[in-house]
Subunit: 319 residues, 4 copies
């Protein structure tokens, strides 16, 4: 008996059939459309392809970038898909499978975190926090070996922890949210500020963005940092500092044994993680009198979210 | 079979024998000495008195103001009792009972929170956060109906959530901790700042402190606020604002269904809770698109910590 | 003997011939080109037109949006005209007049401030600060009745006073600058944050921007505020608060008798000035024990910068 | 014709007769009493002693730690002498001299700043800012070679520049004032925070304060820093950072050519000044595109305030 895991990303929808040991048996990938109905069609297309290879797919887990209600069926809103407002995604997909497949919807950061917990760097930990440093900053929390979703499905919104009173305006309407200081977006802003402040050190970054600071992208900063460029390393030092500060704030609430850092920005490895570890201890309450959590890069790879979704769905149905 | 709950407070040590339904059968109270050995003697004295009334006391729960290790036996350090540094309190007490009584030590804010959960305002909630607004700001977290202690016994240090970058110096050595803005101590500082800034409105507060702003105490501000004094209400409005902001930060991590607010400062009721509720919503991420936790005053009374300690010890021994 | 005042704005170049009493005798207006040479040609065109009407124009004052060196001849850089880097504007224009006209260049906020001082709301004050709340936040300082330019021509960069440690990223490369919190740009961001946080109150603003929050402009917020819209008034309340806080910071250094508030945003009058005045006193050091500066809206009108430039040039040449 | 300069300090009242070239001819020193009348008597005693040596003392300048009104005769309030509230100090002293001596009162930070300008590190500068890093943080501003007092005598209250929104509570009733982060008081708090956070590096500082962190004084931190103690150097690094940030904020308003740093804390020299210079440039607006002020230690010595008072009084009377 197999489970279909679906990951609705910003550019592609990926799907995989997994067995009970979270092993991928077969997988598909299509571009992401913008209309909810077209997204549904893509998912059903993958489902039908899967049925050609596997007799029965009684369960489907969907990873979606949006706030998912506590029922794990409805998306309350999404920054990516404008029409997903109180959208009953599980209902729609179940109808389209003639109710032959039970659907569980989960927030994408939660799925990625769960994937790391069962397959990756978080394996064997008890209380784990995953931070996904992508365009923004996503969070997932595992407590006593189970994904923690909160009372209303809104736990682990760690990118919106308030870090600076009266700070940077966030897209969520609040100010000083963690993701304004530690994310791919923040990396670009620290790099741009550095170019403006230290023009004499900006040669390489200006070269990479063709002389237009507004065209500067995170991956250019990553490339320059890996070449040893001072200004790019400064920008990573700053988001690393704030990553450490954010983890220290989380530790005051959760006191986990393990932090896993994922997302595209972490590809630079210790360039990000060293300042993060240093500042974690610097801002950790009672640092000299307590045991410290380990801070690890994610290892489960790009399919972690899809597999995590499948695994969570299977557990939900079996519970 | 009964359990002894002990609450080591700043001024008194209280003890009570509880039955399995958390009912108090008998209780004692003695002044708190300053030396660890004298504290131990006081506890044993209560234990011996209890044995005169009840055949068997196989379990004891101790609530202590300090950081308790994950083993729930050792105090790593305490702001109140200077010599409690890596102090094996459970070992010492068990020895003094000739190993006839099994001892479990728990942080005082955790005991108070657990008392509220089983007997008070938190009853029936699933994920609960208690904030104790006393001299400082204590925290306790209940997740899925169980006290959450974290991987190293340091969870729920909510008074040390960083709220202001580069903010007020805290006794813990960090800056901008929540308890610098919402606590009895903060209440006094907001009131003093108000007296300095608005001398024309300071008459009543100056009268209460005999004209010496350094002699101003939290209870004077509470009294003036209940009389309707504008400056005292301002000071409560400020710590209420920061209480709301702190809860909003906690909600980004935990997303609880219930906040319980206890501690001496909450005796003014809605004078504190109204600004707290208002600012909770004001600073809550996605406030318009989610369900909101209830914010309730504590109801379990002054014995909640002692009963909570007994109940937690009984559960630990039975587990 | 007359003086030509030139104001190089973002969209138009305006010029006026003034007599020694700062009275405008004749004036011209052309669109602003993007290349420095084309700008110079426009200025010379106005100069030649002026010579047709007036026998002699021995002096020209130019108001430019950029940092002007202490020599009052060279623009070190400008956020508007990219090629104005160490640009010898006065040299260029003097050459093009065959050295028949002496040119003085001055920062635009300084010219506007000086115009208010000699003709407008600042008249009769001794120590005056002008804040121009436009897209950004410009500043000018008059001390003992003379424009104060600092030792290196960089005084009165009041929009870049640091107000929030670790705050909002500013285009200048620093963080938490005053103009991030009080400016037309800030008004839009406060309004957008309000729409996001309080969607139930956003009807009017969404109507004005055609449902697209990114298309929201300051003038729409002004219109809604003047209609009494709650969300728009909230946004003005916030930039007014920060305007007050910024003035209080300036008062700790300069202690002026008069603040003049100009710029497009101040057209709403007391909607901006009331929260500014309230918060000025709220954040003013020793507010209860000192005299307070008056806070006035600008009155000299849109030609103040051009006239100010002419007057400053005449004084410089006569000095 | 000679002038008497008087410096009313926290522990002693010093007086000196100066000639027109600011040369000290004779001087006296007595302990500071607490009552205003007794202070007056001490001043008159010095005045009478001076008259025994010099025929005529027609002018007296008094340096006082308090806010002096724009009339330069009245103290509006003082943090040191509680009864100096709207106290007409010049009137009282002139009466006691039978109106034979004209008295001018000036704020102590202004007198020290003026002394540095005429005799010390500020000599030859045009626009100078002096910051006196003592228990608190005092300020003085010289503009175009003249002491700048503001419209109401409250200019240069630089210790109360707001540096951190929602920051540390200041004795003035505001929050986040510069002197909370850069002063002798701040040095002690940074050192105490360091001891708490890094107990493994606290040996030397704990030794100097006898193991009681509350007994730690600034001079102990200075001593340890000069010995090379890491924790003490950390504490100086922090107040140096904030000194640099404060100067950068001042430069956005005043753009001086010279900063002079005085006060007891500056005795450690570059231990303080190096981090101050580094962070000045780090936080200076448009640092890469402008000339930079020089940052110098004070050189005029402990009599600078007294001489400054005499010189200012002479100028006032001659004006």
């Amino acid at each position: 008996m197999y489970t279909l895991g679906i990951d609705i990303g910003g550019t592609k929808i990926a799907g995989a059939v997994c067995d009970e040991n979270d092993k991928i048996l077969s997988q598909w990938r299509v571009p992401t459309p913008t209309e909810p109905e077209d997204i549904n069609d893509c998912i059903i297309e993958i489902y039908n392809e899967a049925l050609k290879l596997h007799d029965e797919i009684p369960t489907m887990g969907i990873s979606a970038a949006g706030n998912v209600k506590a029922d794990r069926r409805t998306i309350s809103f999404s920054a990516n898909i404008a029409k997903w407002i109180d959208y009953p995604l599980a209902d729609r997909i179940e109808e389209l499978t003639d109710h032959k497949c039970k659907v569980v919807v989960e927030n994408d950061a939660n799925c990625a975190g769960w994937g790391e917990y069962i397959l990756g760097a978080g394996k064997g930990s008890r209380n784990m926090v995953m931070l996904t440093v992508g365009t923004g900053l996503g969070g997932a929390i595992v407590i006593n070996g189970e994904l923690y979703r909160g009372s209303f499905g809104m736990a682990a919104e760690l990118g919106h922890l308030p870090m600076v009173s009266d700070g940077d305006f966030c897209g969520c309407g609040l100010r000083g949210c963690a993701e304004r200081y530690t994310s791919g977006n923040a990396l670009e802003r620290f790099a741009r500020a550095g170019i403006r402040r230290m023009p004499q050190k900006a040669e390489r970054l200006l070269e990479l963005c063709g002389g237009d600071v507004h065209a500067l992208e995170g991956k250019m900063v990553s490339q320059a940092a890996q070449e040893g460029d001072e200004l790019a390393l400064y920008a990573f030092g700053k988001i690393g500092e704030w990553l450490g500060r954010t983890m220290a704030a989380i530790a005051a609430v959760i006191d986990p044994d393990t932090f896993v850092i994922g997302g595209g920005v972490v590809s630079v490895g210790d360039i990000l993680l060293e300042p993060a570890r240093y500042n974690y201890v610097r801002f950790l309450q009672a640092a000299a009198y307590r045991e410290h959590a380990q801070i690890l890069p994610a290892t489960a790879g790009g399919d972690a979210g899809m597999i995590g979704a499948a695994d969570l769905a299977l557990r939900a149905v079996n519970a």
